[in-house]
Amino acid sequence: MSVLTPARTSGQSARSRDNFSAWANRHRKWLFAAPAMIFVGLLIVFPLAWTLYLSLTDSQGSVRAASDFVGFENYLTVLTDTERFWPAVGRTVSFTLVALVCEVVLGMCIALLLWRPFRGEKWVRVAILLPLVATPVAVGMMWRLIFDPNIGFANQLLGLVGIPPQPWLSGQDSALPTTIFMDVWQWTPMVVLILLAGLTSLSEEPDEAARMDGANAFQRFFFVTLPLMMPTVIVAILLRGIDALKTFDILYATKGKGGGSFHEVETLNVYAYGLSFDYNQYGLSSAVLILFFMIIIGSMWLLTMRKKAVSK
């Protein structure tokens, strides 16, 4: 690897510059990668280690206050807590699963609709982009007005077809499904974009061959297109799933602290946030977070394994 600098002035300074340049070029791999990795490392590794430590103490009130080492007591408390923790796990899982299923099925349908070019394509694409970039907190406020039981447009619309008004966000049983609906509205477009990118990169031949063999549209989709799309579908599930598990903004914006007065929409993330910043129970919240983190890593690992299996 020869090092040629354009300016070939003789002398000490030029040589040391050459030396530095040669050194920089030799070590460019880490020279380039290190700053970003150190930045992220400092901001992750240290806080994560601290969270792990806090989860083993009875820290509360203020992180500065003295705390005692209590071993796995927090984990025991959390894992036997059927009032807040397990319902929160249930809500997190059902929120994520229902939202994901709706988003992937709807997203696939919309992506198929958009697959072949048509007139006005540009406008549909704009419509798809808008919910995606809208600020989640603002979106939460927008749905709060639309789903308001007394003045909301949702109940007006139901009134037109003769359905009695629904409590939506203020109902104990309907709050979580309503927030899932909001998530589906905002994030289905994301799934559409990913699946559409997958569809357009598919080769046409398999589809063509199936058509020649007389397969109808449904057969071609389920036996040709869908299997070929599986890796992309799993990527979409992976990307969306991570964010869905961690949903916070719309839940906190629509129901506030503790996921509403009956904790209707309290997912793990909302629960942990509340424990940390509304109740200052740092030891307990750290235990919840570590468990939450394990759930996220676990489901990601499962999906990655699945992806490797279908890619083969």
């Binding site: 609709l113 419509a127 989640p136 907190v137 919240s285």
Partner: protein
């Protein structure tokens, strides 16, 4: 490789093949498709339109079902929000935090993504991408402790740092898949012509990556602008960003719906305008790496 070029050309000729195929499709499907597309567009746009309408209504009109669509528009809500509640400050804060954190993340992230792509540093990339997976709350308690000891909570620095945490992984992720698709041969021939490896990166690769950096930068800006949780904990009265300002809007007793919708419109409109003009970049950024096998 052959397969890829094939699929690319077929994508290029898609318009042609589709036209040739049209007679095969029944007219029933065509009608169904138009209706379905209209329904999709309505479903996605109507709520936003409703928010926009309400932001121009007085609170009396919002409570009147008969005035859903026919009402005398008023700009009073906007005047209220922008002047009385001083939203210009929050707009500036949001913009400044998003802009600086995006710029700094590009400076750190682009070379890192380059190294990770060219030297296939998968494990190092995983470290950076962990930042996308980890729940933000688990970082906030230690951050809050450290930064409040350093007397930094409520300042711009800590907000920018926390938003870089959102922007950087995104930029690394997008730029890595961009560099993966950029042929190494260009750099190699530049090195044969006498450039150092770093010189080749600076004079050949970087100029070719402007589109990728625009993609990554725009998306990072949007994600930072929209971020709520970090600012909720780490911002002070002087550095409050728009999402937090909107959230605070409802913590008072009764909700001023008109004002709230005006505030929600104020926060979403700038980002939507950016999105409309940079549509192509946003789509390629969001789908980056999604179709790799």
């Amino acid at each position: 490789m052959t397969l890829m070029t094939e699929s690319q050309t077929s994508a290029g000729q898609r318009r042609g093949t589709a036209r040739r195929r049209k007679p095969l499709r029944s007219s029933g499907y065509k009608v169904f498709r138009v209706i379905a597309l209209v329904a999709v567009v309505l479903f996605l746009i109507a709520p936003l339109f409703w928010m926009l309408l309400a932001s121009f209504k007085t609170n009396v009109d919002i409570y009147d079902a008969g005035k859903s669509f026919l009402f005398t528009p008023t700009a009073e809500n906007y005047a209220n929000v922008l002047q009385r509640n001083n939203y210009f400050v929050f707009i500036f804060n949001s913009f400044w935090v998003a802009f600086v954190s995006t710029a700094l993340s590009l400076v750190l992230g682009v070379p890192a993504a380059y190294a990770m792509s060219r030297f296939t540093m998968h494990r190092s990339a995983l470290v950076v991408l962990m930042a996308r997976v980890i729940p933000g709350v688990s970082l906030l308690v230690p951050w809050y402790y450290v930064f409040s000891n350093l007397k930094m909570v409520g300042g711009f620095e800590v907000l920018i740092l926390s938003h870089m945490f959102v922007a950087l992984p995104l930029i690394v992720y997008i730029m890595m898949s961009y560099f993966d698709s950029l042929p190494v041969e260009l750099e190699e021939s530049a090195q044969v012509d006498g450039l150092t490896p770093i010189g080749a990166f600076r004079h050949i690769t970087l100029p070719l990556s402007v589109a990728g950096m625009a993609t990554a930068g725009i998306l990072a800006f949007i994600f930072s602008w929209n971020n709520f949780m970090f600012a909720l904990v780490l911002s002070g009265s002087k550095t409050k960003t728009l999402p937090v300002a909107i959230f605070d809007f409802v913590s008072y007793a009764s909700i001023d719906w008109g004002g709230l919708m005006a505030a929600a419109t104020v926060v979403t409109i700038p980002i939507m305008i950016i999105a409309l003009f940079t549509q192509k970049y946003i789509v390629s950024g969001l789908t980056a790496g999604a179709t790799k096998g």
